[in-house]
Each structure stands twice: as C-alpha cells, then as structure tokens.
Symmetry: C2
Subunit: 340 residues, 2 copies
C-alpha cells in the first residue's frame, strides 16, 4: 500500500485524488489546497484531509474547513506526491519534494526538464520504472501519444502532421477567454505539442499546429499519419477498437459534437461526465496506402488521470505496465471499443 | 404500483424515466422515441423498453434497437402517460390518450388549455388531485412559482416583478443560437412567464421580462417581490432554507457563475450534474420593509422532474402533497438548505 499526496486540488487534482481512492494498492494521505472554495469544502465533506500553506491556515479555519497540516506535513506523511499545481508552480515545489526525498509526479504544464522522464502509459511505462520524478504530458500530448503508439502497433509510424483545435478554458474557468474568436496558438509552426510528443518518442517526425476555439467542453484533433508500410483500414480500426483508453463512436447514433459527446457521458452517468478515453469518430478513419487520417475528441479535464495513476506505480516500481494499466482501467471504468 | 409511460425521450423524458425507476410506487412500462440516436441506445442498454411510431419501426430495428411496440401499445399498457414530446406536439398526442382513456401529464411547452390544470407541487398539489390532464409548467415558471409560494409562507405576496435571463439552448442542442447576442424574448412586456404563473396563482399581480443569453447551462432570475406586511431578512432566509427544492449557495465558496454551480454539481457527483432545486444566492437576498429582492439560478434540464413525479401521484390520487413531495425528494436526493 503506497501513501500518496496530491498537491493542488483543481481540475486535475480533484480527479486524481478521487482516482487514488479507488486504487486497491494506494492510500490517499490528503490534498493540498490554497483557497477555501467549494472544491475544498466538498473534499472536506468527503472526508479527504486538507493541507494548506502556512499563511492560509487562518483563512481555511475561518471558513469552517479544518486544516490537517501544512504542505510540508503532507509531503512528509506520504511516499510520493502527485503535483497538480498550476502551470510552472510544480517546479517551485520541487525543492520541497527533494528536501524530504519524496518521489513526485508532475503535470504537462511544467517544462520537461522538471522531471527525469516525460510519460505516457501506452508508450513508455517501462522506461519510467523507478524514476524519481516523472512528468505526465499534457492532455493534448497524451491524446496524440496514445493514438500514435496505438497506430504504431499496426506498422511503424514514420511521420505525423496534426491540427489541434483547443478548448479555450475548462467549464469552471469563468474568467478566461476568448468568447468570440479563433486564436492561433501560436500563429507559427510547429506548436509546442510536437516538441512535447518528442519528449516521449525522441526521433518521431511530427509537426503540429494549434488554434484556440471559444468552447469549454473538449479539444478536437485532426491528424495525418504516414506509416512505413501500406495498411488496411480494417487493421487500423481493429487496433483502435482493441486498445483500452481509446473508444470509438459510431456516426449512426448522431453524437459527434463535443456537446453531444458530453451528453452521452452524462446519460451514461459517468462521474462529472468525464471521458478519460480518446474519443475517435469511427467514420473519420481514412486510409490510403500508407497514410492514415482520423479525427478524435479529447476531454481535457480527465484524460491524464489514468496516466497519473500509472506514473505512481512506475515511479515506485509497484508493478508492470500491463498490470498497472489493467488495474487503473478497471478501477476507473475506462473502456475500449465502442462507447455506445 | 402505478404503471407509467413516458412519451418522448429527450432532455426531460430521459430524466423523468430515470426518476420513475426510483419511485417505490411506480413502474416504468417504457418510453416512446422517434429517432434511434444515442439516447435511444443508452435507454435500451439500461433495459428500458422502447416504443416507436409505426413508421419508425424499421429505422430502429436496422440500428440494432429492438422495438417493444407502437406508441399506442405503450399508452394501452400504462395507467398514465407523461408526455415529454417537443413543444406543441403533446396536444397532438392528446387524442390518443383520450382514446384509451389514460390520464396524462403534459409539459409547459404546451398551451395551458391542453390540461385541466397547470401544476406546481409547492403551490397547488391539492387542486390537482384526481385531474385527468395536468400540465407541469415550464422550467422558468416552476422556479418562479416555487419561490413565490415559499416567500408567501412568510407573509402574503402582493406583487412580483421579475427579469429572466434565459439560457439559449440545452447543452446538447448544437444547432440552436444565438452564439453572440442578447435576444429580448420578446421586446415587449410582459413575457409569457407572468401569464404562465397566473395559470397557477390566478390573481397575482406579476409582470415579467425575459432575454435570451448565449449560454447552455442554466437560467438566472432577478426578482422583486412586494409583500403585504413588513418582514425581516432572517425570516425570508429561514423559509428559503427550510423549504425542500430550494437550496442556498454561500458567497464564501466562490461558486456563483452558472458554470461554477454546474461544477459544484459535478464535484458532488450528481447524476448528469443536475440541480433540480432552485439555487438561491444567499447574499443576494435583500429585504427593505415589505420588499424582497433576490437572485437565483434555474437548471432548465432538471427542475421540472420532481414536479412531473408529483403530478403523477396527484392525478391518480396516490397520496397527499406532503407524502408525495417527501418521497420524490428522498428518492431523487433533492435537498433543502445550503447545497455545500
């Protein structure tokens, strides 16, 4: 039983904490939070212990949320820390993890240099075994890597060209824009996603372009993959259908817009209407000789949650890739094949 | 045990069907659906029997969804029908309910004349006892009526002036607009909501104005109530806090935007992130002499669900208002007091 701390309790942190509570081999020591907002109060109500920065103790106690200790106390009490603090803040916390000699999992908002390895469970779990600091790549990069490493099982992927249409903000982020514009991210090529994919698959020829669209629900990727050998469409569909963490959606059910995909998740009574799987439109899969094109949607709030759970096991050498991925998927209800 | 049919399986129908499955005194015979989309398939997967118009049988069977019978078969097999078909379509189905002498519950999208009575559980349950045709008023009118009838418990409500900022579409409705405009609904006074409130509280002096805003999550109401007598703010807050189907949200938890309220529902792991309660901002409650102003949010997808369940019991004289409302609330997890 490994003792896990979650530092940060926003979009990713609250989901990682919930996921750890469902693992048979993990114990959640507590979470660290800086402001006593509704997320903190709901965590408290669920019985999760809340640790806060020294200077925030008074603020939390005044709001009626008991404080279990400081962030340092939380780190000390745990075997490993999952850092889900905002972009760039994780690097600032790293000295604390080092001071107490604790392993740590960082998120894709940190620079790759923060960790010993950048991580995607379906691509490089074995390389991450025993690594003290692991960085789970961002939501978009996680989706690219899952897809590329899966198609790579059919025949070697030689080249990837992708367009990423990003959601502008998570639903709860009411102060972020744009509300009425498409924003190149950036208006130069490549976007950072290609470099981030290369932090996991070193020598892949990949170029990405990205744009921000005024929506909060999901990202969408439009991807063009060149393979070493000619392939058949049925072989591509088959590997996509048989890989957990990728699900297909059939056009016959009229659920293609991200709003409709989220409605499907609601109707399936998924917690928080999350879709941690890459969501491939089955009719979008186009194959011509050694070229594959396809479209999929990416639920930015939840897709990295299973990778964080696996990263904990890789870092602490708890078990093999196969066992970890299976247990993570089973405990979180993560599927393969057709979603409906 | 009363046998219930649900005709229509969209936003309201699927929620009413789920709610009926949770009632100890009701049995869901099946639902009627016209197109074999994801909602139909998920219903089938849950074991709900699906009835379709004669001309749609082939389309459903081709899509792999077994058909239990026609809509006429569904009506015949049930004691009462909840009609959740689109606005105005319910009136077209009424002759079928009459032909088989079945009681029916209609929605607020129908004209008031379709039914013997317009209904709001906290206002006029007793008047609806034994009525063959009951119309549950729309989401906005349900919220107005819940609030007015609750404040009326403090002292008599003499006058209501309200501004309704409506969501433009439900999240799944990807073809509706506007996406970048405020649309008066209509640019004359009063909006239809005042008349609809008067269909339940006959002689109330009420004037409403409405505008459509480009959002999908919830409506918001800004309401000004004149009372017969002077009141104290604490008495108003107390009655709001002690009435089930109304919940308060404290400003201290930083969850005021509709997006944040929905995030709270997600974090509370509510099914489909529904909030069937009227959601009052506690710090918005302003009292001066005999005048009360307040602001609240209305979850358009789910607020009428408990009223539909109660309307079934009123129509069939199953039990008293008090018992029905209590059982509906308990079975659906509908709260009173502070949400968090």
């Amino acid at each position: 039983m490994i003792s896990v701390a979650v530092n940060g309790y926003g979009t990713i942190g609250k989901r990682v904490a919930d996921a750890i509570l469902k693992q048979p081999d993990m114990r959640l020591i507590g979470v660290a939070k800086t402001s006593p907002n509704y997320e903190a109060f709901i965590a408290h109500r669920k019985g999760i212990k809340i640790y806060v920065p020294q200077q925030s103790i008074k603020k939390f106690e005044e709001s009626g949320i008991p404080v279990a200790g400081t962030i340092e106390d939380l780190v000390k009490a745990s075997d490993i820390v999952v850092d889900t603090t905002p972009n760039g803040v994780g690097a600032q916390y790293k000295p604390i993890y080092q001071q107490f000699q604790r392993n740590a999992i960082f998120q894709g908002g940190e620079k790759a240099e923060v960790a010993d390895i950048s991580f995607s469970a379906l691509c490089n779990y074995d390389e991450a075994l025993g690594k003290k600091y692991i960085r789970v790549v961002s939501c978009n990069t996680t989706a690219l890597l899952r897809t590329i490493c899966t198609i790579n099982k059919v025949t070697k992927v030689e080249k990837v060209r992708a367009t990423i249409v990003r959601r502008a903000a998570d639903q709860k982020e009411v102060k972020k824009g744009p509300i009425n514009s498409l924003v190149p991210d950036p208006a130069t090529v490549p976007s950072h996603h290609a470099k981030d994919v290369n932090s996991v698959i070193k020598n892949l020829d990949i170029v990405t372009m990205a744009v921000i669209a005024p929506t909060t629900l999901m990202h969408m990727h439009f991807i063009n993959i060149t393979l070493k050998d000619k392939v058949e469409k049925k072989d591509v569909l088959s590997v996509l259908e048989n890989t957990p963490r990728i699900v297909l959606i059939s056009s016959k059910y009229d659920a293609e817009a991200t709003a409709e995909l989220v409605e499907v998740a609601r109707d399936l009574k998924r917690e928080r209407n999350d879709i941690p799987e890459v969501m491939v439109f089955d009719d979008s899969v186009y194959v011509k000789d050694n070229e594959v094109m396809l479209m999929y949607a990416v639920h930015q709030e939840s897709i990295v949650v299973p990778e964080n759970v696996d990263a904990i096991r890789a870092s602490t050498r708890l078990m093999s890739a196969e066992d970890s991925i299976r247990i993570t998927n089973e405990s979180l209800g993560i599927l393969k094949g057709y979603l409906i």
